[in-house]
């Protein structure tokens, strides 16, 4: 779009550079001479790819698939049920707006709110703690979701001596183990990973060294501007051409080898990993973040003894392809429910709920272009 005033167009939105990189991708694909599938594990990557129409630029034979890259999408139904149960039990439940419409087994937080529960949208964990300070007579539970980028700020709030009436229901998840699971899936044929730039801002790109060594899959940490993405893809294709399972950082302006060390330390001081379900994908070892013993007093699960009945399930969810999509085996428009029974207004699967969800993004930006 033409920008009439204000900031000049930033360099990483330079279409000429994009053209040079597209030529580079063409040349690399010619050298490789066979089909290549790259998986990214970040909703923001999908959003940029769709928004800028980057799939229409890709050479024949190069496919980009979406992995488990949206924290809202992978939040499991029982976790939503727990939040709903707490809200219905009279607690103030504060959470990110994207979580409101995620369907639980019976209802979403939005449904609970419509029925009179006190559910509040916040932009950060610290805002939730402020609510607890303002309402000392009430119990305030922060339904804490997201990957490393939001887990670190949640941890920071807990280390800053929050009010006694504040607790968290952690649905925080840790990305690297999910990448391992996807890399091991028998039907997932991933030749390279475009790793999430903002999670790596916290954890550092060095974290992926072991992953690359163990799974022998080239991995590049990438940013979210169109040039970042094309550059990241070119680095991946270079590794694939050279048959080298290498690691590169294509987001140097934000990501270092060590990451944000204080944030990382705070996160690991407060959280430890445990095995848990990622909605639609699998039980993933060491990929859910739970509070360490020292911080258990802030754990809503400990404090309130939540008991959710997850026996019944919405039959429609069995037709939902969210799991296949996040495992890189299907595209959103492969799903029969896509855009028909499953829409952002009435989502069946979680991939249609969040602005980071692959199905929502495909619906918003027109899906796979044949243009």
């Amino acid at each position: 779009m033409a920008v009439e005033s204000g900031e000049p167009d930033l360099q990483f939105r330079d279409p000429e550079k994009a053209e040079q990189l597209t030529d580079r991708l063409e040349a690399l694909m010619d050298d490789i001479g066979e089909r290549v599938t790259i998986m990214h594990v970040c909703g923001s990557h999908e959003q940029a790819i769709a928004k800028y129409g980057l799939r229409s630029l890709l050479p024949d034979g190069l496919t980009i698939r979406m992995g488990p890259g949206c924290p809202v999408c992978v939040t499991d139904m029982p976790e939503v049920d727990e939040a709903v149960a707490l809200a219905e039990d009279g607690k103030i439940v504060a959470t990110y707006g994207d979580m409101l419409r995620v369907p639980g087994t019976e209802k979403s937080l939005d449904d609970a709110k419509a029925d009179g529960a006190d559910v509040r949208v916040v932009y950060s964990a610290s805002e939730a703690a402020e609510i607890a300070e303002e309402e000392p007579e009430r119990e305030v539970v922060f339904f804490a979701t997201g990957f490393e980028t939001t887990a670190a700020p949640t941890a920071a709030v807990l280390t800053a001596d929050p009010p006694e009436n504040f607790s968290i229901l952690s649905a925080h998840k840790y990305v690297p183990p999910a990448m391992e699971v996807v890399a091991e899936l028998p039907d997932t044929d991933v030749d390279g990973f475009l790793a999430a730039g903002h999670a790596a801002t916290i954890t550092g790109y060095g974290l992926f060294e072991e992953f690359v060594e163990d799974y022998e899959v080239p991995t590049v940490v990438g940013g979210f501007e169109p040039i970042d993405i094309l550059f990241g893809l070119a680095k991946l294709l270079e590794f694939i051409r050279d048959d080298e399972p290498g690691l590169a950082n294509a987001y140097q302006r934000c990501v270092s080898e060590e990451g944000n060390v204080p944030a990382k330390e705070t996160m690991w001081d407060v959280f430890e990993t445990t095995t848990g379900e990622w909605r639609g994908i699998a039980q993933i070892p060491e990929a859910n973040l739970v509070l360490r013993e020292e911080y258990r007093q802030y754990d809503a699960r400990e404090r309130f003894d939540i008991d959710v009945d997850t026996a019944s399930s919405n039959p429609l969810t069995e037709e939902c392809l969210c799991g296949e999509i996040m495992a890189g085996k299907a595209d959103p428009d492969d799903c029969d429910l896509f855009g028909e029974e499953c829409t952002p207004q009435d989502p069946v699967g979680a991939c249609m709920v969040s602005s980071e969800g692959p199905c929502k993004i495909w619906l918003e930006y027109g899906g796979q272009p044949d243009i």
């Binding site: 779009m1 033409a2 920008v3 009439e4 005033s5 204000g6 900031e7 939105r13 279409p15 994009a18 769709a50 928004k51 800028y52 129409g53 980057l54 799939r55 229409s56 630029l57 924290p71 809202v72 990110y96 707006g97 994207d98 979580m99 949208v121 932009y123 979701t145 997201g146 939001t150 169109p226 429609l316 829409t343 952002p344 207004q345 969040s354 602005s355 619906l363 918003e364 930006y365 027109g366 899906g367 272009p369 243009i371």
Partner: protein, 345 residues
């Protein structure tokens, strides 16, 4: 799920597919008539209806609109200006650029300060003068406290066009150029920012204004084949409607779509596409290819059209779909689904 009683939701009011389906189901199926004197009937779902007068005395254009907005007074305008401009613009979109008369029907919540209503009425007076559209009749109702949110306004407009001189929104043919008369997204992004309490630096404000004079200048300069004001659902919805009604494809160059720097920046922060939100003082016109430059020049010479641009053209391929060249790659430009909500996490 399916046995639940169907209810109207906010998404039905967001101006795109769901709303059209509802109107088809509730209204068109009941009110449609096959009156031969009607050039543009209800079923066309255009900005107004067009009815031939006897003895070749031209055609009468009728349109109506109800207005609710939060807050009532916003940067760049208020509900009164919106109500008058909205109806004047709907008449203009049918080619009726000299409104004969408008109505003003108020529904007010009990407890509303008289001063608030006065301010709104004064704004309606000023805007009707600006547009040359006299308000000649009206109605007032008061509802109980909490039964309505402060104030709602209905305005109906009547205009006259020469017989056959109306402009439908379905008239695009392959080869027609598409002109947008100024920066898009100003009203929607400005209101969303204000509602969410974001105080963006810069001059974000609504573009609400009557555009009948601008449209008259464009119509004088060349053949306008189709016209629409991209209000709810934004430019994306208007383009999709125009493509689908005419059975043509549209190719749009995103880089040539005028967007102000303030709107582009705020849109990025909020996670809202400027092309998906309401405008209240802009027009998208289909123009016969040979007239496109002359029409563009006429629009640019008008005080409201300085930022106008040719943004694309109608094509034979991809009937009913809009293709957006982003400057990087191509994608489909789809209608936004439901209310546009700011990104939160």
């Amino acid at each position: 799920m399916s046995d639940e009683q169907e209810v109207i939701t906010e998404a039905h009011g967001a101006g795109s597919g769901q709303m059209r389906e509802l109107i088809e189901e509730l209204a068109v199926s009941r009110f449609e008539s096959d009156d031969a004197e009607t050039d543009v009937p209800l079923a066309a779902l255009d900005d107004g209806s067009v009815h031939r007068l006897a003895n070749g005395g031209g055609s009468v254009v009728v349109t109506t609109d109800s207005h609710v907005v939060t807050p009532l007074f916003f940067r760049g305008g208020d509900i009164g200006r919106l109500a008058v401009a909205g109806t004047v613009n709907d008449l203009a979109m049918m080619g009726a650029t000299e409104p004969v008369a408008l109505t003003c029907s108020l529904i007010v919540e009990s407890g509303t300060p008289v001063e608030t209503v006065e301010r709104v009425m004064e704004s309606m007076r000023e805007t009707s003068e600006e547009a040359g559209a006299p308000i000649t009749t009206g109605d007032t109702k008061v509802m109980g406290s909490g039964e309505i949110d402060t104030l709602a306004i209905n305005t109906t407009g009547v205009g006259i066009v020469p017989q056959g001189g109306h402009v439908p929104d379905a008239g695009l043919s392959p080869g027609d150029k598409l002109i947008v008369t100024g920066t898009v997204g100003d009203h929607g992004i400005s209101l969303l920012s204000e509602r969410e309490g974001f105080d963006f630096e810069g001059d974000l404000q609504s573009d609400v204004a009557p555009v009948n004079d601008l449209v008259a200048a464009a119509m004088d300069a060349g053949e306008i084949t189709a016209m629409k004001d991209p209000t709810r659902g934004g430019l994306a919805t208007s383009l999709n409607e125009m493509a689908s009604k005419a059975g043509v494809g549209l190719e749009i160059d995103e880089r040539s779509v005028p967007v102000s720097g303030a709107v582009a920046s705020a849109g990025e922060v909020l996670g809202i596409e400027p092309l998906n939100v309401a405008n209240e003082g802009k027009v998208v016109l289909g123009v016969a290819s040979e007239d496109a430059d002359a029409v563009l020049e006429a629009i640019r010479n008008h005080p409201q059209g300085a930022d106008a641009a040719i943004v694309g053209e109608a094509v034979d391929d991809h009937a009913g779909r809009v293709i957006l060249d982003t400057g990087f790659g191509n994608r489909y430009l789809t209608e936004p689904e439901g209310e546009q909500l700011p990104r939160i996490c």
